[in-house]
């Protein structure tokens, strides 16, 4: 009975979304205040019923209700409770429910934090989101209902959650990634609302910016969590594999990064308007395309759920209507957008344009590389594969160019900057960065590598020019502390995020250049040297967990005869599914990670294992944390909240004027 209640509230949420996707939009176009005002209560209703629905699914997992097919496929009585609850997103149906629930959450956030926006705009934003929400729920009800029952004979026990997913990373990575993904729907809805109302001005950009920043920050964390999880759980020691399902979030992230920069230009200078709108649509399309790729079985990989063309077709229809429709709307409305200002060849506008072009080209090449094998096959019936060499060959040079621009951008002024000023500011920075790039890897790791030099030099380039800018901005003030305090939060946000790029660069460069790994067969008492460390195998013991049995090896690590600690990797056999799984042991550190994955037991107690030394790998994710933190800080700038009443009134009169001319 209870699962049916879940389905029932899903249907209710659908009905409310349909109302939300129609009434407020009609109200906004006819200037009907009562209908526009419906958007907030309807949004709250959608959120509540989606919340009830997902809670009931979690309840079905918690109570081992294996008559529900989705629960029977993804849980088991032996599964620990934290994985039972999170198994909600362990398969296609449930994770789509989570996705939709997240959308409901974002919608509620928009309806609560939009008091300073005119009601017609809020009504349009929520209306667009309501249409999306209705489409997602319809998709669930039609092709992938998480509440489907197994009748008449439910199984006695479930098939268990995929053993690779039974891990802390699984609890946090999917929700964070979805949250970031879905956040771009909000920015998309803002852009569509602006196109619909024909009011693409600085105010629209200012309203969008905090949302874009927050969605971008969460997506950054979501991708970083995925990378970190793949690193320690999947056990191959890599942090990025250009997997066909890793790429769509990256594509969205690249478009999103271009968007948050372009929004700044639109807000501050009133230019690049149509471009910004297009980026908002593209970022959202990236997120939808990501869903399409994961859910349709179009590309097979570790992430792909069961392949089903009907589902793929349904998502393709959603994609066609949402993206095709909005691009058509863009084509109709974009010519009406006028630039309000001019700028010179050397100016911040041009640098941000460069940033946008590089990011969009990067996103497009990742997109092509991901889809090309499929596209090629669709056209010619032949098969090819594209691997990391392609992606690295294109992506790395683009990112190097981007970082070169990145340091110059914040130093530039809007409208025009003199080249003499820039070369005065950056001359010493260039020399210092080159020197640091050569010296630091040599001093710290006593080795030379081009990759390490380039990345450290680029990181120094970012950080030194950032310090220079900070010194400039505070130079002529009476007190430095006061001057620092006076700088706006959005400035700090930007610089923290840029610093994050520097930190990440160091991580990527040094990890790629100076990692060691070795596969060995060790008997108890044997040891092996790797990159200044000695790994001693002390033997193995049997272990038993709640739903698995296995072996645990004990390896003590020392450096220069000083003990560092013990690593205890495990090899497990999950009982319900009979699948083996390896749990690596990591000794994580700020400057290096040591880790061991356990292979097979050979005769006489010897074990095969792979040992890794990964310097500076944590910096990759630390950089992502900096970036996300910067994004959130910038979104907290009081400029976004202090929308004066006067401005609101002006917007309202403009609106009524436009409505009159439109009718």
């Amino acid at each position: 009975m209870i699962p049916e209640l879940g389905q029932f509230s899903l249907i209710l949420a659908f009905c409310l979304s349909v109302l939300l996707g129609t009434l407020p939009l009609i109200g906004a176009s006819r200037n009907h205040l009562l209908w526009m005002n419906l958007c907030r209560p309807l949004t709250a209703g959608v959120f509540v019923f989606l919340g009830i629905s997902i809670s009931i699914l979690a309840y079905a997992f918690a109570t081992d209700d294996f008559s529900v097919q989705f629960v029977a496929q993804h849980s088991n009585t032996l599964l620990p409770i934290q994985y039972k609850l999170t198994a909600v997103w362990g398969g296609h149906e449930g994770s789509f429910l989570l996705w939709t629930f997240m959308l409901g959450g974002w919608m509620l956030a928009v309806s609560v934090f939009s008091k300073s926006m005119p009601i017609d705009f809020v009504a349009r934003v929520l209306g667009v989101l309501g249409i999306l929400c209705a489409a997602y729920i319809l998709f669930m009800l039609a092709t992938s209902n998480p509440f489907d029952r197994i009748v008449p004979l439910p199984p006695a026990d479930g098939a268990d959650l995929n053993s690779a997913l039974q891990d802390f990373g699984f609890i946090i990575h999917p929700p964070t990634l979805y949250m970031g993904y879905v956040g771009f729907s909000v920015v998309f809805a803002f852009a569509i609302a602006a196109l619909l109302s024909g009011r693409l001005d600085a105010a629209w950009a200012r309203w969008s910016r905090p949302w874009a920043n927050v969605a971008w920050a969460i997506l950054t964390i979501g991708i970083a969590l995925g990378s970190w999880w793949a690193y320690y759980e999947l056990g191959w020691g890599g942090w990025w594999a250009w997997d066909p399902v890793e790429n769509p979030p990256l594509i969205t992230w690249l478009f999103g990064t271009a968007l948050i920069h372009s929004l700044a230009v639109t807000e501050k200078r009133g230019i690049f308007k149509s471009w910004t709108v297009l980026l908002a649509i593209l970022a959202f399309s990236g997120s939808l395309l990501g869903t399409f790729i994961t859910r349709s079985g179009l590309l097979t990989s570790v992430h792909a759920f069961a392949s089903d063309p009907t589902r793929g077709f349904f998502i393709l229809v959603i994609l066609g209507v949402a993206v095709g429709g909005s691009l058509l709307l863009f084509a109709l409305r974009a010519p009406m957008m006028k630039s309000e200002a001019r700028f010179d060849l050397v100016s911040r506008e041009v640098l941000i344009l460069g940033n946008n072009v590089l990011l969009v080209v990067a996103a497009a090449s990742v997109f092509l590389g991901t889809l090309f094998p499929m596209v090629y096959q669709a056209i010619t019936d032949d098969l090819i594969s594209i691997g990391p060499p392609y992606f690295n060959a294109i992506f790395v040079p683009l990112m190097i160019l981007l970082v070169l621009l990145l340091a110059v951008g914040p130093l530039c002024r809007w409208k025009r900057t003199s080249i003499a000023y820039l070369s005065r500011q950056l001359g010493k920075v260039v020399l210092a960065s080159l020197a640091l790039g050569v010296l630091i890897p040599l001093v710290v790791l006593l080795e030379f590598s081009l990759a390490a030099t380039v990345s450290v030099a680029l990181a120094a380039w970012i950080s030194l020019s950032l310090l220079g800018d900070l010194a400039n901005k505070t130079a002529n003030k009476s007190s430095r502390a006061k001057a620092l305090k006076a700088l706006p939060l959005s400035y700090y946000g930007m610089q923290i995020a840029h610093l994050g790029a520097a930190v990440m660069l160091i991580g990527i460069g040094l990890t790629s250049a100076f990692s060691y790994e070795k596969s060995v067969l060790l008997s108890p008492g044997q040891s092996i040297d790797l990159g200044n460390y000695v790994f001693m195998f002390n033997g193995s013991t049997a272990v038993t967990g709640p739903n698995y049995v296995g072996n645990e090896a004990d390896i003590s690590v020392s450096k220069n005869d000083r003990p560092i600690g013990n690593l205890k990797p495990q090899r497990r056999l999950y009982l319900a599914s009979g699948t083996p799984s390896t749990e690596m042991a990591i000794d994580a550190g700020f400057f290096r990670d040591l880790f061991v994955t356990l292979g097979e037991e050979k005769e006489s107690g010897a074990w095969s294992m792979t040992i890794y030394v990964k310097p500076f790998i944590r910096w990759i994710w630390l950089g992502a944390i900096f970036m996300a933190f910067g994004g959130v800080i910038a979104a907290g700038d009081k400029r976004y909240r202090r929308l004066r009443k006067r401005e609101l009134e002006r917007a309202a009169t403009e609106l009524s004027g436009e409505l009159q001319t439109a009718s």
């Binding site: 994609l319 010519p335 691997g387």
Partner: protein
């Protein structure tokens, strides 16, 4: 004309959607390689054991070309079948060590046994791209003239061997018999 440029995104999107729609109904595993009935692509690489290897080193009889990697768990499932084939010696097996590392590959062969006459080392996967490899494991049947005649994606176990390879090989042998 200047207004037309704003239609470029929507037109390119629908072109893409069309391809995606077509792609939905494709199953990469069912499709033959583009190289079926074409000669092996030229290569000059090293083997996992370290010696140089090129097209002329391939066996001049019907042989299997098996794509494997030390990271590849399904390869362990098909390994006994390959070992049996190599012990029986009726049909040579050549390996392609795909997107792997030499030291890991050597260890893997030591640990699990080596069914291969030799393994072509394809560390960056470029030879795999030429071959149209979808992912390890994959097995190609190549005839005595170095022409690829059959391809199987994923695990080659005993039942696949009996049902797909044995008839394909019988057919090939019949053909060359007929020619002589």
């Amino acid at each position: 004309m200047s207004k037309l440029k704003y239609y470029i995104p929507v037109i390119s999107f629908f072109a893409l959607a069309l391809v995606l729609w077509r792609g939905l109904y494709l199953d990469p595993k069912e499709l033959p390689s583009m190289l079926i009935d074409k000669p092996m692509p030229p290569f000059a690489l090293t083997t996992v054991a370290g010696s140089e290897v090129a097209n002329e080193d391939l066996p001049d009889q019907i042989f299997l070309l098996n794509v494997w990697g030390s990271y590849c768990l399904p390869c362990l499932i098909e390994h006994p079948t390959l070992m049996r084939l190599s012990e029986e010696g009726d049909i040579p097996v050549v390996g392609v060590n795909y997107r792997d590392r030499q030291d890991l590959a050597v260890d893997w062969l030591e640990d699990n046994g080596n069914p291969f006459a030799f393994s072509i080392l394809d560390e960056d996967g470029r030879f795999g791209i030429d071959l149209g490899v979808y992912g390890a494991p994959e097995t190609y049947l190549v005839d005595e003239n170095g022409v690829i005649r059959f391809r199987h994606v994923s695990v080659l176990d005993e039942s696949v061997w009996e049902e797909e390879f044995v008839p394909a090989i019988a057919e090939l042998r019949g053909e060359s018999f007929g020619n002589e």
